[in-house]
């Protein structure tokens, strides 16, 4: 049964189109139900995030399935068929599986390695599964996708280095101070980015947050929001000495912290290191401060260069991640093929057994004079014929399956034995049919 993926993503489709196709998560059960009313889709799942809208499905026929998804998207979201034709990518089986593995592993994300996407994929699967839209095909596919994502995260450093300015600052702070517990943060100026960084630090356990701003009211307001304390902007010598981390973001047109002030604060700190983050433009902290021992000064350019280096690093890790995805995809396809083959064997056996019993009963009815021993001999003979006939093709197919048999081969075998391709559900694979 083909797996179908149809969707749009940030790679090729502008936001104007993506936002029109966006499905709000609260209404997802209804959307799935609606999609279910289109004929031809066996299973269905909608992954809808700000960067992508994708429908995963399994269907009897690939073409009919794609048509159903197209009609659904165009009718449900009122998008012209022409627009869909231009933007929608449609992938099948192996391609679709690879795409899902890449998406779940955050290798297809706008910021490669960002951690949210796996949660979003899991949530999409949960919604489809709980509402009865995901059957065993999607179940095994998505279970594998989650495993692959975990493996990529564990085996590569893809999500490790931070890629935003404020999280890069927090990361550096951790490399200086270890944990944030018991650390004091001083905000000079109450800019938005300073607030963001301070929130990060507070979330990591920074114990005291001091806010100094030229207008006291704003300092108090921000201090309250951060659970900190406002201090006098004109007189921060004591606070500066107490601060492990200083985030400067004043609008002042000149240097606010000169070398002398920092040096005297260091004197009081007795060699304890100090991390100065200057995100103001023009700068608040004299660049010469970085020459002082045990002081680490980063301005906005420094942080941005850390971020871009980290992004480059992620690209490198992503290559590693893609290799893992390929490896996993091959193993998943092998397993699927083996399972399909087992099911085919089992179905052929069931069919052969049915023929054998029918013909045997007919024959026995025509020969009423046989005693028990003769009946058993006939029974054994028919069984032996069936087994001998099936033995060689099965053995050969198993060998082929290990190497090159694709879906076409399996379909061919099914036709050869008069089974309807893709429609084999019964029975579960028998113990001797393990490929």
């Amino acid at each position: 049964m083909p797996i179908i993926l149809a969707g749009v993503s940030h790679h090729r489709t502008p936001l104007e189109v993506r936002e029109r196709l966006f499905f709000a998560p609260d209404a997802m059960p209804e959307w799935l139900d609606r999609l279910g009313r289109y004929n031809g889709l066996e299973e269905r799942l909608i992954l809808s995030t700000c960067n992508r809208v994708e429908v995963y499905s399994s269907a009897e026929s690939f073409e009919a399935g794609v048509d159903a998804i197209r009609s659904f998207l165009s009718e449900a979201r009122e998008v012209a068929a022409e627009t869909l034709r231009r933007h929608l990518y449609v992938l099948r089986d192996e391609e679709a599986m690879r795409h899902l593995f890449l998406v779940a592993s955050s290798l297809d994300s706008m910021v490669v390695g960002e951690p949210q996407i796996l949660g979003q994929v899991k949530e999409a699967y949960r919604l489809a599964q709980e509402n009865g839209h995901a059957g065993k095909n999607l179940a095994s596919l998505f279970a594998r996708a989650f495993q692959v994502a975990k493996k990529v995260r564990e085996r590569t450093a893809i999500g490790e280095a931070p890629v935003s300015v404020s999280s890069a600052a927090v990361d550096l702070a951790k490399k200086i101070f270890g944990g944030m517990e018991g650390r004091t943060v001083l905000l000079l100026g109450a800019g938005e980015m300073a607030e963001l960084a301070a929130r990060h630090l507070a979330a990591q356990g920074a114990s005291a947050i001091l806010v100094a701003n030229r207008t006291l009211a704003r300092a108090q307001e921000l201090a309250q929001a951060l659970g900190g304390r406002a201090v006098d902007y004109q007189n921060i010598t004591a606070e500066l000495a107490a601060a492990d981390i200083v985030i400067a973001s004043t609008g002042a047109p000149h240097i606010v912290l000169d070398r002398g002030r920092v040096a005297s604060a260091l004197e009081l700190r007795r060699d304890r290191p100090m991390f100065l983050i200057d995100i103001a433009v023009p700068r608040d902290v004299d660049p010469g401060v970085n020459e002082l021992e045990n002081v680490y000064l980063y301005d906005i350019d420094d942080l941005q260069s850390v971020v871009s280096a980290n992004l480059k690093g992620r690209e490198k890790e992503a290559e590693q991640g893609r290799l893992i995805v390929e490896e996993e995809l091959r193993s998943f396809l092998r397993r699927r093929k083996a399972e399909e083959l087992s099911r085919t064997f089992a179905a052929i056996r069931v069919q052969a057994e049915a023929f054998r019993e029918r013909e045997l009963t007919k024959t026995l009815n025509r020969l009423p004079g046989l005693d028990e021993k003769e009946r058993q001999a006939l029974e054994a003979m028919t069984r032996a014929i069936v087994n001998k006939l099936l033995h060689h093709p099965f053995a050969h197919l198993r060998e082929m399956a290990a190497e090159q048999a694709d879906e076409k081969t399996i379909e061919f075998v099914q036709r050869l034995f008069g089974l309807e391709p893709g429609a084999i559900e019964l029975p579960p694979p028998g113990p001797d049919d393990k490929a």
Binding site: K175, G178, R272, N290, Y296, G313
Partner: protein, 255 residues
């Protein structure tokens, strides 16, 4: 039997170096597991050879040094969960253990028997302190490297591989305590032995005694400064690296 723990140390060393130098992402057990196994095996071997009275000669002391380093690193790992220190400790452990295993008659009877409880404890504690100071040196080196990374404002891959400055400084502090205590105890036992053997607390050979005094004074001074003047960070790191030269000197004249 001897070769087995050397090989385990080798495996552990490769895992540690891979993670430290090649940005590997091996889970900790790959490095720590073989180390623990090798350590246990070596402990059993020491117990066995000690009971049968086979342990003599230089090989045994080198082997003991490897064992002590492994012990100290495992303790530090249990406390800090940082594999970076192992990137320094394991090569030393492997070289010491491997060299001692290669020495002829290392586990047989040797002529240079260390006699007496006093002398043995003196030498054992001296090894403990030397191993501590080696780890102190490694922690200090990592501190300087990490501080340099941070100071450069364009940190590279080492930023991620090395522990935080806070951990390294704390490590520096703790190892200094232990190393200095071991050294002091070792010197006391050594002079007690000299007293019982030669009738004097201190042999007058300046070549042998001077490096010891320098080592003790150096680390003592560092300890005092850390405690009273709260020396931290770079200053302390550079000082511990410098003091290690005295340790090397002392080891050279005593082995």
């Amino acid at each position: 039997m001897i070769a087995v723990f050397v090989i385990l140390y080798l495996v552990s060393m490769i895992a540690h170096l891979y993670n430290l130098l090649a940005e590997g992402k091996l889970p900790a057990w790959v490095g720590i597991g073989p180390l623990v196994a090798g350590f246990v095996l070596q402990t059993v071997m020491f117990g066995y050879s000690g009971l049968t009275g086979q342990s003599r000669g230089l090989g045994v002391w080198l082997s003991a040094a490897a064992w002590i380093l492994a012990l100290l690193y495992l303790v530090a790992y249990a406390r800090y969960r940082e594999m970076a220190l192992g990137g320094f400790a394991l090569p030393a452990i492997f070289v010491l253990a491997g060299y001692s295993a290669a020495l002829p008659g290392a586990w047989g009877s040797g002529s240079q028997a260390m006699q007496g409880f006093l002398l043995k404890s003196h030498a054992f504690l001296a090894l403990l302190s030397a191993a501590s100071f080696f780890l102190l040196f490694a922690a200090a080196l990592m501190y300087v490297a990490q501080a340099h990374q941070l100071k450069s404002r364009r940190p590279g891959a080492w930023l991620r591989r090395l522990p935080s400055l806070d951990v390294l400084d704390d490590l520096n502090h703790k190892i200094l305590y232990f190393g200095f205590a071991f050294l002091t105890a070792s010197l006391l036992l050594g002079s007690m032995w000299a007293q019982s053997e030669h009738g004097a607390f201190w042999s007058l050979d300046p070549l042998k005694t001077l490096p010891l005094i320098l080592t003790w004074l150096g680390y003592g001074l560092l300890l005092v400064c850390r405690l009273t003047r709260s020396w931290k960070g770079m200053r302390s790191a550079f000082f511990s690296m410098g003091a290690f030269v005295a340790v090397l000197f002392a080891l050279a004249v005593h082995l």
